[in-house]
């Protein structure tokens, strides 16, 4: 009986794997689409460019400024990389600033928030600092499509109620095909790593560890109760 159950279970797993593999071109695009929580722009006081991916984000920020959605563009000072320290390339915030200026944003409308940021958390904290003096300000946060869900989670975590003042406008990624992300190194890097980072954030800053521990405890108790019942029924 037990052996038959194992054979059926193995057949079921094999069948499920075959179905998943066959339908993966239909399923895998959902992984990249789920990460994109972009919203339509609304009139705001600031556009904030989340740094990284300079091929897309500053251009979208420049378009938002040009279309009149906000007057001021915020950049966060980024901690220097080894290449910046060696004088090979400027820091990301300077690259973003130069792109904004070249796309028509007047330099006096670009504000650099001092932060030495190394992560999205640091950028959110920099914005929290600014919002302390401007509690009614509305912000359009620009980031890449694949980065937006995690960014929103981070901003909610750091800003709490003030996170309602932030609207996420996503910059579409065009150096890989988003619906075929797994066929590109950069697509895999962007999408798959976002899920790993989300899981890490949920464990480190969220309650994933607590929920996992609770589920494991419940499973252990259920297994113990089942064994006790089995022993009671068949004491021999």
């Amino acid at each position: 009986m037990k052996r038959r159950r194992w054979i059926l279970f193995t057949l079921f797993v094999a069948a499920a794997a075959i179905v998943l593999l066959a339908s993966s071109p239909a399923i895998l695009p959902c992984f990249s689409r789920w990460l994109d929580i972009g919203q339509r722009p609304v009139k705001a006081d600031y556009v904030m460019v989340l740094l990284g991916d300079e091929q897309t984000r500053p251009f979208v920020a420049a378009a938002l400024a040009a279309e009149g959605w906000a007057d001021t563009v915020l950049l966060t000072e980024i901690a220097p990389s080894p290449q910046t320290i060696d004088g090979i390339s400027p820091p990301s915030h300077e690259i973003a600033r130069d792109i904004l200026v070249s796309r028509g944003v007047p330099p006096e409308r670009i504000v650099l928030m001092p932060a030495e940021a190394r992560s999205t958390f640091d950028e959110a904290r920099a914005l929290a600092g600014l919002l302390e003096s401007r509690p009614n300000a509305r912000v359009l946060a620009v980031t890449s499509d694949y980065h937006s869900r995690r960014s929103r989670w981070v901003f909610h975590h750091v800003l709490a109620e003030q996170a309602d003042k932030v609207t996420f406008v996503t910059a579409p990624t065009d150096y890989y095909v988003t619906d075929r992300w797994w066929r590109s190194q950069w697509g895999t890097r962007a999408v798959a790593s976002e899920y790993l980072k989300l899981a890490f954030y949920l464990m480190r800053y969220g309650y994933l560890v607590h929920w996992t521990a609770a589920c494991l405890l419940l499973a252990a108790v259920a297994a113990w109760v089942r064994r006790r019942q089995s022993v009671t029924r068949h004491p021999g």
Partner: protein
């Protein structure tokens, strides 16, 4: 508890104990498949590549300049990716321009530098650009500088994309990152992120076929498409 279950429990506990006691060894071993190292012999060329728009490999220009000083007859090959919006916007010079400048600062003369165009931004385009160069020069060898955790993937791309003869003419020199050590990469955030990303990309290389990089729109076209999408979303 049955005997079988007792043995399973003891075996499981033993595995967990070994994992805890030897975690450093296990984690170090996890990073090894990502690195390809070879003995470097006589070479005729030193190749530099970029990761999107930045030069790849920490201190790559220092290493390239030193290799050139060790063999002043070698050429320094710069694999130039297609121009992108950041270069078009004038916010950053092209990879070739940056490389010429940095190599010149380190004493490599302009005549030693050769710019080779590359079709896209994936590893296969690096392999093909090198393969095209080497197929015309069957007796030459090239040292390809790259980030150490990219080296195994690049080695695989070169071996798979160009003929056996051309692949044997490419030696890969992995460059370590000053921010963390390959032997305790898990102790830093940068190390953990680098090894994690590198594994993802190696898995992608093994299990997925390669799709071409789509042509990138220029800045005006990109912004126009984004603005139109906002208008389409308007209620």
């Amino acid at each position: 508890m049955t005997r079988k279950r007792k043995i399973s429990t003891v075996a499981f506990a033993a595995v967990v104990l070994v994992a805890i006691l030897f975690h450093s060894l296990l984690l170090r071993g996890l990073a090894r498949p990502l690195i390809s190292e070879q003995m470097i012999g006589d070479y005729d060329g030193i190749c530099l590549i970029s990761s999107l728009q930045s030069p790849e490999g920490d201190r790559c220009y220092d290493v390239a300049a030193q290799l050139w000083r060790d063999n002043p007859t070698a050429s320094v090959l710069i694999l130039e990716p297609p121009d992108n919006r950041i270069v078009e916007a004038g916010a950053l010079p092209s990879f070739a321009t940056v490389s010429r400048r940095e190599l010149s600062k380190r004493g490599v003369p302009e005549e030693a530098v050769v710019i080779l165009p590359r079709e896209g931004i994936d590893d296969w385009t690096i392999a093909r650009a090198l393969g095209d160069r080497l197929s015309d020069r069957p007796e030459t060898t090239v040292v390809l500088l790259c980030d150490e955790f990219h080296s195994a993937r690049l080695r695989a791309a070169v071996d798979e994309s160009v003929g056996e003869k051309s692949a044997s003419q490419v030696w890969i020199m992995p460059l370590s990152d000053r921010r963390f050590n390959r032997d305790d990469w898990w102790k830093t955030r940068t190390g953990t992120r680098t090894v994690g990303m590198s594994w993802l990309m190696l898995l992608q290389h093994w299990f997925s076929d390669w799709g071409a990089t789509p042509p990138q729109a220029d800045a005006d076209e990109y912004e126009k498409r984004v603005i139109e999408s906002w208008r389409e979303d308007a209620p």
